[in-house]
């Protein structure tokens, strides 16, 4: 395990960027770790990978990877990534984004890329708030959740990002929390292998933002909160129908995996012989 960690660090990490900007107890570093292990496991050529992102804590991730990176403007990572992929379909294009970046300001690009089924792997780090700017209400903040701009509680219904992705046409959709390392690595690997728009939502604590505002406790307690409030799809299916209906837990696992023709392949077929 130690050797594998060193292998991942030596092979993929951009040393000059260390230490990271992430707060104690934040899970974004884990997302980086899991993603790189998945990239390694799938055997992608790192020279042919492009890591795109927008603005926010999670969008800093491409900077830590010794690879091509495109750190773009707020909300636009998926649109930039679409340009990269359409222009050079042989590249592996991965997007790191967050709930505010992707579902707030960038919501339109998200649903349209899913609809087009462009071959991208989109990893959305959902921490229920705008962390980089100090913990404001986001499109995924739970109802009644406290943030610096919802000090009396959030009155809005949050997006279920996975249902949104499925509704928009994404052929692969998975959700985990960063407290499940092996499952998350496996989900990201499956997303990387999927020829099409593959979406992975990773629920993740923000101890200095949402966690503190909502008194979820210290880092360890926040991480535990995520485990206690989620149930895997497999475990849910084993519950009695009554218990399943009564469950208020967030379902994690691979939630959708279907085959749909991918955009760049359809384009290549369409224009062949013109």
């Amino acid at each position: 395990m130690f050797n594998q960690a060193r292998h991942i660090r030596d092979k993929y990490i951009r040393d000059e960027m260390w230490p990271s900007i992430f707060c104690t107890g934040c899970g974004i570093g884990n997302v980086l770790n899991y993603t790189l292990r998945a990239v390694d496991g799938v055997g992608l050529d790192i020279d042919r990978c492009v890591f795109c992102s927008g603005i926010g804590c999670s969008s800093r991730l491409p900077g830590y990877i010794e690879a091509d990176g495109l750190h773009t403007t707020h909300g636009r990572a998926i649109a930039f990534a679409t340009g990269v992929k359409l222009a050079e379909p042989d590249l592996h294009v991965v997007v790191f984004t967050g709930d505010g970046d992707m579902a707030g300001i960038g919501g339109n690009h998200f649903i349209h890329a899913a609809r087009r089924n462009v071959d991208l792997t989109v990893i959305c780090v959902n921490n229920y708030n705008y962390g980089m700017t100090g913990g404001q209400v986001s499109p995924t903040t739970p109802e009644r959740g406290l943030t610096t701009t919802s000090p009396y509680g959030n009155v809005e219904q949050p997006f279920d990002l996975c249902r949104l992705a499925i509704g928009a046409g994404a052929p692969f959709v998975a959700r985990w929390t960063v407290g499940y390392p092996y499952e998350t690595i496996e989900a990201i690997a499956a997303a990387l292998r999927k020829p099409g728009f593959a979406f992975v939502e990773l629920l993740m604590p923000c101890p200095t933002g949402y966690g503190k505002e909502n008194r979820l406790g210290d880092s360890e307690a926040v991480w535990r909160w995520y485990k206690e409030h989620t149930i895997s799809r497999r475990d849910l299916l084993q519950l009695s129908p009554e218990d399943r209906a009564a469950s208020r837990k967030i379902v994690v696992g691979t939630l959708w995996d279907v085959d749909r023709p991918e955009y760049t392949r359809r384009w290549a077929e369409l224009v062949q012989g013109l």
Binding site: G63, D68, R76, A79, G83, E88
Partner: protein, 398 residues
């Protein structure tokens, strides 16, 4: 990609070298002949015909043409495509141009070559979608936030839609910067004869690639003058591209006053210092003239007509047409102004470039304007009248 620029194939698809066509379509022709292989756009009057023409043409030359969900996505996709090595473009009009401003700044900051055509229409807001205007000229210069320089060209004819769009691609690649082609609804929709360039008239200048191997290569270190070499994605150079203030390695240096100053000054100077090379003007000077016209774009056509009429009537007048509007050819304008008492600037707006002229001339001549909005072009007679009777004064830009 552009390595495979094939004049014979492109000219075969474009058809006869002499054609009677529309300015927007001519922009599409110019794009192909400029080596463009990627277009992303969003429908908007009066620029839509560019997207329509390119959606027919680009797939036939191995290019990609896609309609995105909005103008922000369009410019985003163009920037992404450019980093794979393609010559990439979008086209829009005022409302879309407004939406693109943030990412135009990103292209400046990340030194991404790309071309944006703005077929200007009457604003502000939705304004008069089908009517021409030149109301985006200072937005072209200052639309995105922060200090920056921009290259902006202004075609006055359908022929120049071909020529300046071609040129825009070379400038974008050479200077690693967004280049704006500021046309308008009149030039975009009018039809004129064009002559497409012959094979030996087409020059494809490319961005310089890395001259040192991965590891030794410093991606944002200026090598040719103030312009860095560009290592595209997928080539093993592991380039990190960010809109944050970055050092020569491309890595964030947001708290460093030095890094920010060095970067932003270099980005500005790489264009400002090249003003003599970038200057493209037409001068029609008359010995002894006390009045002169400075024009650009469609209004230059009317200005040329006014000059003819005034001279026929025995009045002496000089004319300077800006083909490159930005970087502003300050030295040329100052020399033009030196013998003159008055300069009249006709524009399809309430006064934009006249302010830049006034700043350059700095009191050496009085600046007047022929300012027209509402959707009709300025007539030569309106300019004649302004020369004879005096144009509107230019108030301080406040």
């Amino acid at each position: 990609m552009t390595a495979g620029f094939d004049y014979e194939k492109i000219s075969g698809i474009l058809g006869p070298r002499e054609q009677f066509t529309q300015g927007d379509v001519a922009c599409a022709y110019g794009a192909l002949l400029g080596g463009c292989t990627f277009f992303a756009g969003y429908p908007i009057t009066p620029a839509t015909e560019i997207a329509e023409a390119l959606s027919r043409l680009l797939p036939r030359v191995g290019g990609i043409c896609t309609q995105m969900e909005d103008e922000i996505a369009s410019i985003s996709a163009v920037i992404g495509a450019s980093w794979t090595g393609r010559r990439a473009m979008t086209a829009t009009s005022g409302p879309g141009f407004s939406l693109m401003q943030e990412n135009i700044g990103y292209a400046c900051m990340s030194e991404t070559p790309c071309v944006i055509i703005d077929v200007q229409r009457s604003g502000p807001s939705t304004g008069q979608p089908t009517e021409p205007a030149q109301g985006d000229m200072l937005q072209a210069r200052w639309g995105t936030h922060g200090d920056h320089e921009i290259i902006a060209l202004a075609p006055a004819s359908v022929q120049e839609c071909v020529d300046l769009t071609r040129k825009a691609f070379n400038l974008a690649e050479e200077y690693r910067t967004p280049v704006l082609v500021m046309t308008d609804g009149e030039v975009g929709h009018m039809r004129e004869k064009i002559v497409l360039p012959a094979a030996d008239e087409v020059e494809i200048r490319r961005r310089s690639g890395p001259s040192t191997p991965p590891g030794a290569f410093v991606p944002f270190q200026a090598t040719r003058g103030k312009i860095p070499e560009m290592a595209g994605f997928g080539t093993g150079f592991h380039t990190y591209v960010t809109g944050l203030t970055h050092d020569e390695r491309g890595l964030p240096a947001t708290s460093s006053a030095n890094a920010h100053t060095r970067l932003v000054r270099r980005l500005c100077e790489k264009i400002a210092d090249a003003t003599p090379a970038l200057t493209d003007v037409e001068q029609d000077l008359q010995e002894g003239a006390e009045a002169g016209l400075i024009s650009y774009g469609i209004s230059a056509r009317s200005a040329a007509g006014a000059v003819k009429r005034l001279r026929r009537d025995g009045l002496k007048i000089s004319h300077l047409r800006l083909v490159t509007v930005f970087p502003f050819p300050e030295a040329v304008v100052q020399a033009f102004a030196a013998p003159l008492a008055r300069i009249i600037v006709p524009e399809l707006n309430l006064g934009q470039i006249c302010h830049v002229v006034r700043e350059a001339v700095d009191g050496a001549a009085r600046i007047e304007r022929v300012a027209k909005i509402g959707g009709e072009i300025i007539t030569p007679l309106e300019i004649v009248r302004a020369v004879r009777e005096g144009g509107e004064p230019v108030r301080a830009a406040s």
